[in-house]
């Protein structure tokens, strides 16, 4: 149907749309690393865009899920992520603690609701 559903097409997309645009920054870091000012106005803008992009990805995965997460009510998805961030902040800023808190809330919630 569409290009990405064939293995070869998907691999070409990974290489040309994913690998090259991403890897260029690692190469630039090697080539020009010492001359670049991390705190220039341009870099501040770029970092803000990168952060917003990641937040948008998270929001889309949670608010408009595609697969298995659809079975869960919106409030449970949001509560689990909120609990995870809370767990991270409360328990020594440990990423592992935050992830486990969120997962515990999600699994208990979906088990209690009898969904999924």
């Amino acid at each position: 149907m569409s290009l990405f559903q064939s293995e070869l097409g998907a691999m070409l997309i990974v290489i040309f749309v994913g690998f090259l645009p991403n890897e260029i920054w690692r190469v630039i870091g090697v080539l020009f690393g010492r001359g670049l000012d991390e705190n220039s106005v341009l870099m501040q803008w770029v970092r803000a865009v990168a952060t917003a992009l990641l937040a948008a990805v998270v929001a889309r995965l949670l608010l408009i899920p595609t697969g298995g997460l659809v079975a869960l009510p919106l409030w449970l998805r949001l509560t689990a992520v909120g609990a995870g961030v809370g767990g991270f902040l409360a328990i020594r800023r440990s990423v592992l603690a935050g992830v486990l808190t969120a997962e515990a809330v999600l699994v208990l919630g979906s088990w209690w609701l009898g969904v999924a």
């Binding site: 645009p21 990641l54 990805v57 889309r60 997460l69």
Partner: protein, 247 residues
């Protein structure tokens, strides 16, 4: 540049030893957290019918989970490929300062271009954190070999995690399968909070998240582009001009 064949045998076993020590060092708590998030990525791949071979290739080549999720999520949502390439290019910018700051530690005394490029490929958040923790304890001459060993170990574990997630999702009971799918958004949400230090960071999170559902039906599959570039630019302008005027 020294060719490998001119390296004395004892030198090679010296490099091999540091390579193996690096690979062994990937078996650590941060390494296992990383694997867990790639298990979640594998579950996502299965969930949206992305071919597994290309998914594994993305872990080896892109080696940056946010970019990988933008790519496969965007492709599944029907985003246009040029707009995805731009979104991925923008998301990859954060790798550059990581490479710049870690390179002196990875290279030791005599930096060689090819070796620098290979070491740079392994740089991502986990590698960056672990590099600063482990490399100072490594002899300078063994550092490139140690870096390549550590990076190969982390990528190898993550490839295994991706495959595991892909084949595991549909065999797990319901609540555990959705738990797997939540791993990606939850770990990203926590990383966003962890990396936010200034008002502009918080504004970018809020604008990006709020714009995302609003622009989801935008023409040409450009929704990630609008929420990322639009939200980020808005956050940048508000932090730079809006907040300053009021204070």
């Amino acid at each position: 540049m020294n060719s490998v064949s001119s390296t004395p045998p004892e030198d090679r076993s010296y490099l091999l030893r540091w390579f193996l020590r690096g690979a062994a060092a990937s078996l650590s708590v941060p390494g296992f957290v990383l694997v867990a998030t790639f298990v979640g990525f594998g579950g996502l791949l299965h969930d949206i019918n992305f071919p597994i071979g290309a998914g594994l290739l993305s872990t080896v080549l892109i080696w940056a989970l946010p970019a990988q999720v933008i790519l496969v999520g965007g492709v599944a949502a029907g985003a246009s490929l040029p707009s995805l390439a731009i979104a991925i290019c923008l998301s990859g910018v954060r790798l550059m300062p990581m490479v710049v700051s870690l390179m002196p530690l990875m290279q030791g005394k005599r930096p060689r271009f090819l070796s620098e490029l290979i070491c740079a490929h392994f740089v991502a958040v986990t590698m960056w954190v672990e590099g600063f923790r482990l490399l100072p304890k490594v002899e300078p001459a063994g550092r490139p070999a140690f870096t390549i060993g550590l990076g190969t170990g982390l990528i190898g574990l993550s490839v295994a995690g991706t495959a595991l997630g892909f084949y595991l999702t549909h065999t797990l009971p319901g609540p555990l399968a959705v738990a797997l799918l939540l791993l990606t958004p939850i770990s990203f949400a926590i990383l966003l909070v962890r990396n936010s230090k200034e008002p502009v960071d918080w504004l970018a999170i809020v604008f990006g998240a709020v714009l995302s559902p609003l622009v989801v039906d935008s023409a040409g599959g450009l929704d990630l582009f609008w929420s990322g570039v639009g939200g980020g630019t808005l956050a940048f302008l508000v932090a730079r001009y809006g907040l300053r005027k009021r204070s």
